[in-house]
Symmetry: C2
Amino acid sequence: MSIDNICVVGMGLIGGSFSSALKKAGYAGKITGVVRDNAKGNQAVERGVVDEATTDVAKAVANTDLVLLSVPMLSMREQLEKMAPVLQSHTIVTDAGSVKQPFIDDARATLPYLNRVVPGHPIAGKEKSGLDAVDSSLYQEHRILLTPLPETDEDAVTSVAQLWELAGGIVESLSPEHHDDALAATSHLPHVLAFAMVDMLASRQEMKEMFRYSAGGFRDFTRIASGDSVMWRDICLTNQAAVGQAIEEFEAHLAAIKQAIAAGDADTIETVFRRAREAREEHLVIK
Amino acid sequence: MSIDNICVVGMGLIGGSFSSALKKAGYAGKITGVVRDNAKGNQAVERGVVDEATTDVAKAVANTDLVLLSVPMLSMREQLEKMAPVLQSHTIVTDAGSVKQPFIDDARATLPYLNRVVPGHPIAGKEKSGLDAVDSSLYQEHRILLTPLPETDEDAVTSVAQLWELAGGIVESLSPEHHDDALAATSHLPHVLAFAMVDMLASRQEMKEMFRYSAGGFRDFTRIASGDSVMWRDICLTNQAAVGQAIEEFEAHLAAIKQAIAAGDADTIETVFRRAREAREEHLVIK
Protein backbone atom coordinates (compact mmCIF):
# COMPACT_ATOMS: atom_id res chain seq x y z
CA MET A 1 0.00 0.00 0.00
CA SER A 2 1.24 3.43 -0.86
CA ILE A 3 1.21 6.03 1.94
CA ASP A 4 0.37 9.26 0.12
CA ASN A 5 -1.12 11.16 3.02
CA ILE A 6 0.24 11.39 6.55
CA CYS A 7 -1.41 13.09 9.47
CA VAL A 8 0.78 13.96 12.47
CA VAL A 9 -1.23 14.74 15.60
CA GLY A 10 0.89 16.94 17.88
CA MET A 11 3.54 19.34 16.53
CA GLY A 12 6.07 19.02 19.33
CA LEU A 13 9.65 17.81 19.16
CA ILE A 14 8.73 14.21 18.25
CA GLY A 15 5.95 14.76 15.71
CA GLY A 16 7.55 17.82 14.15
CA SER A 17 10.92 16.12 13.79
CA PHE A 18 9.28 13.03 12.21
CA SER A 19 7.57 15.19 9.61
CA SER A 20 10.62 17.35 9.07
CA ALA A 21 12.89 14.31 8.64
CA LEU A 22 10.53 12.76 6.07
CA LYS A 23 10.32 15.92 4.03
CA LYS A 24 14.09 16.35 4.12
CA ALA A 25 14.50 12.72 2.98
CA GLY A 26 12.32 13.46 -0.06
CA TYR A 27 8.97 11.97 1.02
CA ALA A 28 6.65 12.84 -1.86
CA GLY A 29 3.27 12.60 -0.12
CA LYS A 30 1.40 15.25 1.83
CA ILE A 31 1.89 15.74 5.57
CA THR A 32 -0.79 17.46 7.64
CA GLY A 33 -0.10 18.61 11.20
CA VAL A 34 -2.84 18.69 13.83
CA VAL A 35 -2.15 21.48 16.31
CA ARG A 36 -3.84 23.04 19.33
CA ASP A 37 -4.09 26.53 17.87
CA ASN A 38 -3.89 28.18 14.47
CA ALA A 39 -0.86 30.31 15.33
CA LYS A 40 1.20 27.19 15.93
CA GLY A 41 -0.18 25.64 12.77
CA ASN A 42 0.83 28.64 10.69
CA GLN A 43 4.29 28.51 12.21
CA ALA A 44 4.68 24.81 11.37
CA VAL A 45 3.67 25.44 7.75
CA GLU A 46 5.86 28.56 7.40
CA ARG A 47 8.88 26.65 8.65
CA GLY A 48 8.21 23.84 6.21
CA VAL A 49 7.70 21.28 8.96
CA VAL A 50 4.33 20.22 7.44
CA ASP A 51 2.44 20.96 4.22
CA GLU A 52 -0.81 21.87 5.94
CA ALA A 53 -2.02 22.37 9.49
CA THR A 54 -5.40 22.22 11.22
CA THR A 55 -6.87 22.16 14.71
CA ASP A 56 -9.57 19.68 13.64
CA VAL A 57 -8.25 16.17 14.23
CA ALA A 58 -11.40 14.41 12.94
CA LYS A 59 -11.29 16.30 9.66
CA ALA A 60 -7.57 15.72 9.26
CA VAL A 61 -7.60 11.95 9.79
CA ALA A 62 -10.74 11.23 7.74
CA ASN A 63 -8.81 11.20 4.47
CA THR A 64 -5.35 10.05 5.42
CA ASP A 65 -3.37 6.83 4.93
CA LEU A 66 -1.43 7.02 8.17
CA VAL A 67 -1.79 8.83 11.48
CA LEU A 68 1.11 9.38 13.89
CA LEU A 69 -0.06 10.34 17.37
CA SER A 70 2.62 12.30 19.20
CA VAL A 71 0.88 13.83 22.18
CA PRO A 72 1.49 13.31 25.95
CA MET A 73 0.52 9.80 27.12
CA LEU A 74 -2.56 10.97 29.02
CA SER A 75 -3.89 12.90 26.00
CA MET A 76 -3.83 9.86 23.69
CA ARG A 77 -7.27 8.58 24.67
CA GLU A 78 -9.01 11.86 23.90
CA GLN A 79 -7.42 12.06 20.44
CA LEU A 80 -8.28 8.42 19.68
CA GLU A 81 -11.90 9.03 20.64
CA LYS A 82 -12.11 11.97 18.27
CA MET A 83 -10.54 9.97 15.45
CA ALA A 84 -12.43 6.69 15.86
CA PRO A 85 -15.74 7.62 14.18
CA VAL A 86 -14.13 8.90 10.98
CA LEU A 87 -11.16 6.56 10.42
CA GLN A 88 -11.15 4.61 7.17
CA SER A 89 -10.54 0.86 7.32
CA HIS A 90 -7.18 1.10 5.53
CA THR A 91 -5.77 3.96 7.63
CA ILE A 92 -2.76 2.97 9.73
CA VAL A 93 -2.66 4.38 13.26
CA THR A 94 0.75 4.55 14.95
CA ASP A 95 2.03 6.54 17.90
CA ALA A 96 5.22 7.75 19.55
CA GLY A 97 4.28 7.24 23.19
CA SER A 98 7.01 6.32 25.65
CA VAL A 99 4.90 3.56 27.26
CA LYS A 100 3.23 1.01 25.01
CA GLN A 101 0.63 -0.95 27.02
CA PRO A 102 -1.54 2.07 27.92
CA PHE A 103 -1.68 3.15 24.27
CA ILE A 104 -2.67 -0.39 23.30
CA ASP A 105 -5.40 -0.38 25.96
CA ASP A 106 -6.65 2.97 24.68
CA ALA A 107 -6.59 1.78 21.08
CA ARG A 108 -8.49 -1.42 21.94
CA ALA A 109 -11.10 0.60 23.79
CA THR A 110 -11.69 3.13 21.02
CA LEU A 111 -10.55 2.14 17.51
CA PRO A 112 -12.61 0.17 15.01
CA TYR A 113 -9.77 -1.47 13.02
CA LEU A 114 -7.15 -2.98 15.36
CA ASN A 115 -5.44 -4.68 12.41
CA ARG A 116 -4.20 -1.23 11.34
CA VAL A 117 -2.73 -0.27 14.76
CA VAL A 118 1.10 -0.21 15.00
CA PRO A 119 2.21 1.06 18.44
CA GLY A 120 5.68 2.61 18.27
CA HIS A 121 8.27 4.49 20.27
CA PRO A 122 11.23 6.39 18.85
CA ILE A 123 14.02 6.34 21.45
CA ALA A 124 15.15 9.86 20.84
CA GLY A 125 14.61 13.04 22.68
CA LYS A 126 16.11 16.25 23.86
CA GLU A 127 15.60 18.27 26.98
CA LYS A 128 13.94 20.90 24.81
CA SER A 129 10.38 20.54 23.60
CA GLY A 130 7.97 22.22 21.22
CA LEU A 131 8.16 23.38 17.62
CA ASP A 132 11.37 25.35 18.27
CA ALA A 133 13.14 22.11 19.15
CA VAL A 134 12.20 20.34 15.88
CA ASP A 135 15.24 18.70 14.31
CA SER A 136 15.17 16.78 11.03
CA SER A 137 18.19 14.71 12.12
CA LEU A 138 16.75 13.75 15.53
CA TYR A 139 16.19 10.12 14.55
CA GLN A 140 19.45 9.48 12.71
CA GLU A 141 20.92 6.22 14.05
CA HIS A 142 18.34 6.11 16.84
CA ARG A 143 16.29 3.03 17.61
CA ILE A 144 12.59 3.01 16.84
CA LEU A 145 10.78 0.28 18.77
CA LEU A 146 7.51 -1.10 17.37
CA THR A 147 5.20 -3.29 19.48
CA PRO A 148 2.56 -4.65 17.06
CA LEU A 149 -0.64 -6.31 18.33
CA PRO A 150 -1.39 -9.96 17.53
CA GLU A 151 -4.04 -8.56 15.18
CA THR A 152 -1.81 -6.08 13.35
CA ASP A 153 -1.47 -6.59 9.56
CA GLU A 154 2.08 -7.21 8.40
CA ASP A 155 1.83 -4.56 5.67
CA ALA A 156 0.93 -1.93 8.31
CA VAL A 157 4.07 -2.74 10.32
CA THR A 158 6.15 -2.61 7.14
CA SER A 159 4.75 0.79 6.14
CA VAL A 160 5.45 2.30 9.56
CA ALA A 161 8.94 0.77 9.65
CA GLN A 162 9.75 2.13 6.17
CA LEU A 163 8.72 5.66 7.12
CA TRP A 164 10.87 5.60 10.28
CA GLU A 165 13.78 4.26 8.27
CA LEU A 166 13.31 7.06 5.76
CA ALA A 167 13.43 9.44 8.75
CA GLY A 168 16.82 7.95 9.67
CA GLY A 169 15.88 5.49 12.42
CA ILE A 170 16.77 1.84 13.04
CA VAL A 171 13.57 -0.16 13.55
CA GLU A 172 13.16 -3.12 15.95
CA SER A 173 10.05 -5.00 17.10
CA LEU A 174 9.37 -6.42 20.54
CA SER A 175 6.46 -7.10 22.89
CA PRO A 176 4.83 -4.18 24.72
CA GLU A 177 5.51 -5.78 28.14
CA HIS A 178 9.17 -6.17 27.31
CA HIS A 179 9.33 -2.60 25.98
CA ASP A 180 7.72 -1.05 29.03
CA ASP A 181 9.93 -2.99 31.42
CA ALA A 182 13.17 -2.21 29.56
CA LEU A 183 12.37 1.48 29.14
CA ALA A 184 11.44 1.81 32.81
CA ALA A 185 15.05 0.91 33.59
CA THR A 186 16.90 2.69 30.76
CA SER A 187 14.87 5.86 30.49
CA HIS A 188 12.09 6.41 33.03
CA LEU A 189 14.24 5.60 36.08
CA PRO A 190 17.15 7.89 35.08
CA HIS A 191 14.66 10.74 34.63
CA VAL A 192 13.13 10.11 38.05
CA LEU A 193 16.62 10.05 39.60
CA ALA A 194 17.63 13.30 37.91
CA PHE A 195 14.42 15.03 39.03
CA ALA A 196 14.94 13.70 42.59
CA MET A 197 18.59 14.83 42.63
CA VAL A 198 17.82 18.39 41.51
CA ASP A 199 14.85 18.58 43.87
CA MET A 200 17.09 17.54 46.75
CA LEU A 201 19.59 20.34 46.03
CA ALA A 202 16.77 22.82 45.55
CA SER A 203 15.37 21.94 48.96
CA ARG A 204 18.63 22.75 50.76
CA GLN A 205 18.75 26.09 52.53
CA GLU A 206 21.89 27.14 50.66
CA MET A 207 20.27 26.28 47.33
CA LYS A 208 21.96 28.93 45.20
CA GLU A 209 25.35 28.01 46.58
CA MET A 210 24.63 24.35 45.86
CA PHE A 211 24.11 25.08 42.19
CA ARG A 212 27.15 27.38 42.11
CA TYR A 213 29.36 24.59 43.43
CA SER A 214 28.21 22.13 40.81
CA ALA A 215 30.28 21.52 37.70
CA GLY A 216 29.95 20.02 34.25
CA GLY A 217 29.36 16.50 35.51
CA PHE A 218 26.34 17.61 37.49
CA ARG A 219 25.07 19.63 34.53
CA ASP A 220 25.19 16.57 32.27
CA PHE A 221 23.82 14.32 34.99
CA THR A 222 20.76 16.48 35.55
CA ARG A 223 20.14 17.72 32.00
CA ILE A 224 17.27 15.25 31.62
CA ALA A 225 15.61 16.93 34.62
CA SER A 226 14.87 19.78 32.18
CA GLY A 227 12.46 17.49 30.37
CA ASP A 228 8.79 18.38 30.15
CA SER A 229 7.27 17.73 33.58
CA VAL A 230 3.80 16.81 32.27
CA MET A 231 5.22 14.31 29.80
CA TRP A 232 7.34 12.64 32.49
CA ARG A 233 4.49 12.69 34.98
CA ASP A 234 2.34 10.86 32.42
CA ILE A 235 5.08 8.32 31.73
CA CYS A 236 5.46 7.56 35.45
CA LEU A 237 1.71 7.20 35.88
CA THR A 238 1.13 5.04 32.81
CA ASN A 239 4.13 2.79 33.47
CA GLN A 240 3.50 2.80 37.22
CA ALA A 241 4.35 -0.81 38.06
CA ALA A 242 7.53 -1.10 35.96
CA VAL A 243 8.84 2.30 37.09
CA GLY A 244 8.13 1.40 40.73
CA GLN A 245 9.99 -1.87 40.31
CA ALA A 246 12.96 -0.15 38.63
CA ILE A 247 13.14 2.38 41.48
CA GLU A 248 13.22 -0.46 44.01
CA GLU A 249 15.90 -2.29 42.06
CA PHE A 250 17.94 0.90 42.01
CA GLU A 251 17.38 1.50 45.72
CA ALA A 252 18.91 -1.91 46.45
CA HIS A 253 22.03 -1.10 44.40
CA LEU A 254 22.36 2.30 46.07
CA ALA A 255 21.89 0.79 49.54
CA ALA A 256 24.70 -1.69 48.84
CA ILE A 257 27.08 1.15 47.93
CA LYS A 258 25.95 3.18 50.94
CA GLN A 259 26.68 0.22 53.20
CA ALA A 260 30.11 -0.33 51.64
CA ILE A 261 30.95 3.36 52.16
CA ALA A 262 29.75 3.27 55.79
CA ALA A 263 31.80 0.13 56.39
CA GLY A 264 34.88 1.61 54.69
CA ASP A 265 34.85 -1.39 52.35
CA ALA A 266 37.29 -0.09 49.71
CA ASP A 267 37.28 -3.29 47.63
CA THR A 268 33.51 -3.41 47.18
CA ILE A 269 33.28 0.28 46.31
CA GLU A 270 36.05 0.06 43.74
CA THR A 271 34.66 -3.16 42.26
CA VAL A 272 31.20 -1.65 41.75
CA PHE A 273 32.59 1.60 40.32
CA ARG A 274 34.98 -0.20 37.97
CA ARG A 275 32.32 -2.69 36.85
CA ALA A 276 29.95 0.19 36.05
CA ARG A 277 32.61 2.09 34.17
CA GLU A 278 33.58 -0.96 32.12
CA ALA A 279 29.99 -1.94 31.32
CA ARG A 280 29.22 1.57 30.12
CA GLU A 281 32.35 1.76 27.98
CA GLU A 282 31.77 -1.66 26.46
CA HIS A 283 28.05 -1.68 25.80
CA LEU A 284 26.80 1.86 25.39
CA VAL A 285 26.11 2.30 21.70
CA ILE A 286 25.82 6.08 21.65
CA LYS A 287 28.80 7.34 23.67
CA MET B 1 56.56 36.87 47.40
CA SER B 2 57.35 35.92 43.85
CA ILE B 3 56.59 32.35 42.79
CA ASP B 4 59.41 31.52 40.38
CA ASN B 5 59.36 27.77 40.75
CA ILE B 6 56.32 25.51 40.82
CA CYS B 7 56.30 21.79 41.43
CA VAL B 8 53.21 19.83 40.36
CA VAL B 9 53.02 16.38 41.96
CA GLY B 10 50.90 14.15 39.73
CA MET B 11 50.63 14.65 35.97
CA GLY B 12 47.01 13.65 35.47
CA LEU B 13 44.12 15.73 34.16
CA ILE B 14 44.10 18.17 37.09
CA GLY B 15 47.83 18.75 37.63
CA GLY B 16 48.68 18.67 33.94
CA SER B 17 45.90 21.09 33.04
CA PHE B 18 46.97 23.49 35.83
CA SER B 19 50.51 23.56 34.50
CA SER B 20 49.39 23.74 30.90
CA ALA B 21 46.99 26.62 31.63
CA LEU B 22 49.69 28.61 33.44
CA LYS B 23 52.17 28.20 30.61
CA LYS B 24 49.57 29.17 28.05
CA ALA B 25 48.72 32.26 30.13
CA GLY B 26 52.36 33.31 30.01
CA TYR B 27 53.59 32.23 33.44
CA ALA B 28 57.31 33.05 33.35
CA GLY B 29 58.61 30.74 36.10
CA LYS B 30 59.68 27.13 35.85
CA ILE B 31 57.24 24.26 36.32
CA THR B 32 58.48 20.82 37.29
CA GLY B 33 56.23 17.77 37.10
CA VAL B 34 56.62 14.84 39.49
CA VAL B 35 55.59 11.62 37.75
CA ARG B 36 55.50 7.91 38.50
CA ASP B 37 57.78 6.87 35.66
CA ASN B 38 60.26 8.49 33.30
CA ALA B 39 58.31 7.65 30.16
CA LYS B 40 55.39 9.73 31.39
CA GLY B 41 57.77 12.49 32.44
CA ASN B 42 59.32 12.63 28.98
CA GLN B 43 55.87 12.77 27.43
CA ALA B 44 54.83 15.68 29.68
CA VAL B 45 57.96 17.63 28.74
CA GLU B 46 57.68 16.84 25.02
CA ARG B 47 54.09 18.05 24.98
CA GLY B 48 55.10 21.26 26.73
CA VAL B 49 52.91 20.54 29.75
CA VAL B 50 55.87 21.10 32.11
CA ASP B 51 59.45 22.40 31.73
CA GLU B 52 61.05 19.48 33.54
CA ALA B 53 59.93 16.17 34.98
CA THR B 54 61.25 13.82 37.64
CA THR B 55 60.17 10.77 39.63
CA ASP B 56 61.90 12.09 42.77
CA VAL B 57 59.40 14.14 44.74
CA ALA B 58 61.84 15.03 47.57
CA LYS B 59 64.41 16.39 45.12
CA ALA B 60 61.76 18.32 43.18
CA VAL B 61 60.15 20.09 46.13
CA ALA B 62 63.41 20.96 47.93
CA ASN B 63 64.00 24.04 45.81
CA THR B 64 60.54 25.19 44.86
CA ASP B 65 58.33 28.10 45.89
CA LEU B 66 55.04 26.27 45.54
CA VAL B 67 53.90 22.65 45.41
CA LEU B 68 50.55 21.56 43.97
CA LEU B 69 49.60 18.04 45.02
CA SER B 70 47.25 16.48 42.48
CA VAL B 71 47.23 12.78 43.31
CA PRO B 72 44.32 10.54 44.44
CA MET B 73 43.12 11.37 47.98
CA LEU B 74 44.56 8.23 49.54
CA SER B 75 48.01 8.87 48.01
CA MET B 76 48.32 12.36 49.54
CA ARG B 77 49.75 11.19 52.86
CA GLU B 78 52.59 9.25 51.26
CA GLN B 79 53.62 12.24 49.13
CA LEU B 80 53.44 14.62 52.10
CA GLU B 81 55.67 12.31 54.14
CA LYS B 82 58.27 12.28 51.38
CA MET B 83 58.17 16.07 51.06
CA ALA B 84 58.13 17.01 54.75
CA PRO B 85 61.85 16.57 55.55
CA VAL B 86 63.08 18.75 52.68
CA LEU B 87 60.47 21.54 52.43
CA GLN B 88 61.76 25.08 52.90
CA SER B 89 59.95 27.35 55.35
CA HIS B 90 58.72 29.68 52.59
CA THR B 91 57.41 26.94 50.26
CA ILE B 92 53.64 27.02 49.81
CA VAL B 93 51.91 23.63 49.76
CA THR B 94 48.51 23.46 48.07
CA ASP B 95 46.49 20.57 46.71
CA ALA B 96 43.61 19.75 44.37
CA GLY B 97 41.92 17.04 46.41
CA SER B 98 38.15 16.70 46.15
CA VAL B 99 37.74 16.40 49.94
CA LYS B 100 39.43 18.95 52.18
CA GLN B 101 39.38 17.72 55.80
CA PRO B 102 41.43 14.56 55.16
CA PHE B 103 44.11 16.58 53.36
CA ILE B 104 44.20 19.00 56.27
CA ASP B 105 44.54 16.09 58.71
CA ASP B 106 47.38 14.65 56.62
CA ALA B 107 49.10 18.04 56.39
CA ARG B 108 48.83 18.60 60.14
CA ALA B 109 50.29 15.17 60.79
CA THR B 110 53.25 15.53 58.45
CA LEU B 111 54.24 19.08 57.45
CA PRO B 112 56.58 21.37 59.40
CA TYR B 113 55.15 24.76 58.29
CA LEU B 114 51.36 24.83 58.52
CA ASN B 115 51.32 28.59 57.86
CA ARG B 116 52.25 27.77 54.23
CA VAL B 117 49.47 25.22 53.67
CA VAL B 118 46.60 26.31 51.38
CA PRO B 119 44.14 23.42 50.79
CA GLY B 120 42.31 23.84 47.51
CA HIS B 121 39.86 22.18 45.13
CA PRO B 122 39.26 23.14 41.52
CA ILE B 123 35.67 22.20 40.64
CA ALA B 124 36.44 21.00 37.18
CA GLY B 125 36.80 17.60 35.70
CA LYS B 126 36.13 15.40 32.78
CA GLU B 127 35.29 11.76 32.50
CA LYS B 128 38.71 11.26 30.94
CA SER B 129 41.85 11.11 33.02
CA GLY B 130 45.61 11.06 32.54
CA LEU B 131 48.05 13.11 30.49
CA ASP B 132 46.04 12.60 27.29
CA ALA B 133 43.11 14.44 28.87
CA VAL B 134 45.18 17.55 29.75
CA ASP B 135 43.38 20.70 28.65
CA SER B 136 44.77 24.21 29.14
CA SER B 137 41.23 25.65 29.15
CA LEU B 138 39.86 23.20 31.75
CA TYR B 139 39.59 25.84 34.49
CA GLN B 140 38.15 28.70 32.42
CA GLU B 141 35.18 30.11 34.32
CA HIS B 142 35.28 27.24 36.80
CA ARG B 143 35.23 27.75 40.54
CA ILE B 144 38.35 27.04 42.59
CA LEU B 145 37.53 26.57 46.27
CA LEU B 146 40.25 27.29 48.87
CA THR B 147 39.87 26.21 52.51
CA PRO B 148 42.78 27.88 54.38
CA LEU B 149 43.73 26.80 57.93
CA PRO B 150 43.51 29.27 60.82
CA GLU B 151 47.34 29.25 60.70
CA THR B 152 47.67 29.94 56.96
CA ASP B 153 49.55 33.14 55.99
CA GLU B 154 47.51 35.57 53.96
CA ASP B 155 50.23 35.95 51.33
CA ALA B 156 50.20 32.18 50.74
CA VAL B 157 46.44 32.24 50.04
CA THR B 158 46.93 35.24 47.73
CA SER B 159 49.70 33.51 45.78
CA VAL B 160 47.63 30.35 45.26
CA ALA B 161 44.56 32.39 44.30
CA GLN B 162 46.54 34.44 41.77
CA LEU B 163 47.91 31.33 40.07
CA TRP B 164 44.45 29.78 39.76
CA GLU B 165 43.11 33.05 38.38
CA LEU B 166 45.94 33.09 35.86
CA ALA B 167 44.86 29.55 34.93
CA GLY B 168 41.36 30.90 34.24
CA GLY B 169 39.52 29.99 37.45
CA ILE B 170 37.24 31.97 39.78
CA VAL B 171 38.55 31.66 43.35
CA GLU B 172 36.37 31.46 46.51
CA SER B 173 37.27 30.64 50.11
CA LEU B 174 35.17 28.67 52.59
CA SER B 175 35.60 26.35 55.57
CA PRO B 176 36.65 22.74 54.94
CA GLU B 177 33.55 21.39 56.73
CA HIS B 178 31.28 23.49 54.55
CA HIS B 179 33.20 22.45 51.44
CA ASP B 180 33.05 18.73 52.18
CA ASP B 181 29.34 18.87 52.97
CA ALA B 182 28.42 20.91 49.87
CA LEU B 183 30.52 18.81 47.50
CA ALA B 184 29.08 15.59 48.91
CA ALA B 185 25.70 16.79 47.62
CA THR B 186 26.70 18.47 44.36
CA SER B 187 29.43 16.14 43.16
CA HIS B 188 30.06 12.98 45.19
CA LEU B 189 26.39 11.95 45.40
CA PRO B 190 25.71 12.36 41.63
CA HIS B 191 28.74 10.19 40.90
CA VAL B 192 27.55 7.49 43.32
CA LEU B 193 24.08 7.59 41.68
CA ALA B 194 25.52 7.30 38.18
CA PHE B 195 27.73 4.36 39.18
CA ALA B 196 24.74 2.68 40.90
CA MET B 197 22.50 3.27 37.87
CA VAL B 198 24.95 1.76 35.37
CA ASP B 199 25.72 -1.11 37.74
CA MET B 200 22.02 -1.86 37.99
CA LEU B 201 21.62 -2.08 34.19
CA ALA B 202 24.80 -4.15 33.92
CA SER B 203 23.43 -6.64 36.45
CA ARG B 204 20.28 -7.30 34.41
CA GLN B 205 20.25 -10.51 32.39
CA GLU B 206 19.53 -8.68 29.16
CA MET B 207 22.40 -6.28 29.79
CA LYS B 208 23.40 -5.66 26.18
CA GLU B 209 19.82 -4.95 25.21
CA MET B 210 19.52 -2.54 28.14
CA PHE B 211 22.35 -0.44 26.81
CA ARG B 212 21.02 -0.67 23.25
CA TYR B 213 17.66 0.73 24.35
CA SER B 214 19.23 3.70 26.09
CA ALA B 215 19.44 7.06 24.36
CA GLY B 216 21.24 10.36 24.64
CA GLY B 217 19.69 11.28 27.97
CA PHE B 218 21.03 8.12 29.57
CA ARG B 219 24.43 8.69 27.98
CA ASP B 220 24.66 12.18 29.50
CA PHE B 221 23.20 11.00 32.78
CA THR B 222 25.81 8.28 33.24
CA ARG B 223 28.83 9.95 31.65
CA ILE B 224 30.26 10.68 35.10
CA ALA B 225 30.22 6.91 35.77
CA SER B 226 33.19 6.80 33.39
CA GLY B 227 35.24 8.63 36.01
CA ASP B 228 38.31 7.02 37.50
CA SER B 229 37.10 4.34 39.92
CA VAL B 230 40.07 4.65 42.32
CA MET B 231 39.66 8.40 42.58
CA TRP B 232 35.96 8.11 43.30
CA ARG B 233 36.49 5.27 45.75
CA ASP B 234 38.94 7.48 47.65
CA ILE B 235 36.52 10.41 47.65
CA CYS B 236 33.74 8.24 49.08
CA LEU B 237 36.04 6.83 51.76
CA THR B 238 37.58 10.15 52.79
CA ASN B 239 34.24 12.00 52.82
CA GLN B 240 32.44 9.01 54.31
CA ALA B 241 30.07 10.78 56.70
CA ALA B 242 28.96 13.59 54.37
CA VAL B 243 28.50 11.24 51.40
CA GLY B 244 26.51 8.82 53.58
CA GLN B 245 24.30 11.68 54.72
CA ALA B 246 23.78 12.95 51.17
CA ILE B 247 22.80 9.45 50.03
CA GLU B 248 20.22 9.25 52.83
CA GLU B 249 18.86 12.68 51.98
CA PHE B 250 18.53 11.57 48.36
CA GLU B 251 16.89 8.28 49.36
CA ALA B 252 14.17 10.25 51.16
CA HIS B 253 13.47 12.37 48.05
CA LEU B 254 13.39 9.28 45.84
CA ALA B 255 11.11 7.44 48.27
CA ALA B 256 8.65 10.35 48.18
CA ILE B 257 8.49 10.20 44.38
CA LYS B 258 8.17 6.41 44.45
CA GLN B 259 5.27 6.71 46.85
CA ALA B 260 3.56 9.37 44.73
CA ILE B 261 3.91 7.14 41.64
CA ALA B 262 2.54 4.10 43.51
CA ALA B 263 -0.39 6.19 44.76
CA GLY B 264 -1.05 7.65 41.30
CA ASP B 265 -0.65 11.10 42.85
CA ALA B 266 -0.34 13.15 39.64
CA ASP B 267 -0.17 16.53 41.39
CA THR B 268 2.75 15.63 43.63
CA ILE B 269 4.72 14.05 40.78
CA GLU B 270 4.22 17.03 38.51
CA THR B 271 5.01 19.51 41.29
CA VAL B 272 8.31 17.82 42.12
CA PHE B 273 9.30 17.48 38.46
CA ARG B 274 8.40 21.08 37.65
CA ARG B 275 10.13 22.42 40.77
CA ALA B 276 13.30 20.52 39.84
CA ARG B 277 13.20 21.75 36.26
CA GLU B 278 12.69 25.36 37.33
CA ALA B 279 15.39 25.26 39.99
CA ARG B 280 17.88 23.85 37.52
CA GLU B 281 17.01 26.40 34.85
CA GLU B 282 17.17 29.30 37.27
CA HIS B 283 20.23 28.50 39.33
CA LEU B 284 22.58 26.32 37.35
CA VAL B 285 25.47 28.57 36.36
CA ILE B 286 27.03 26.33 33.74
CA LYS B 287 24.16 25.11 31.58
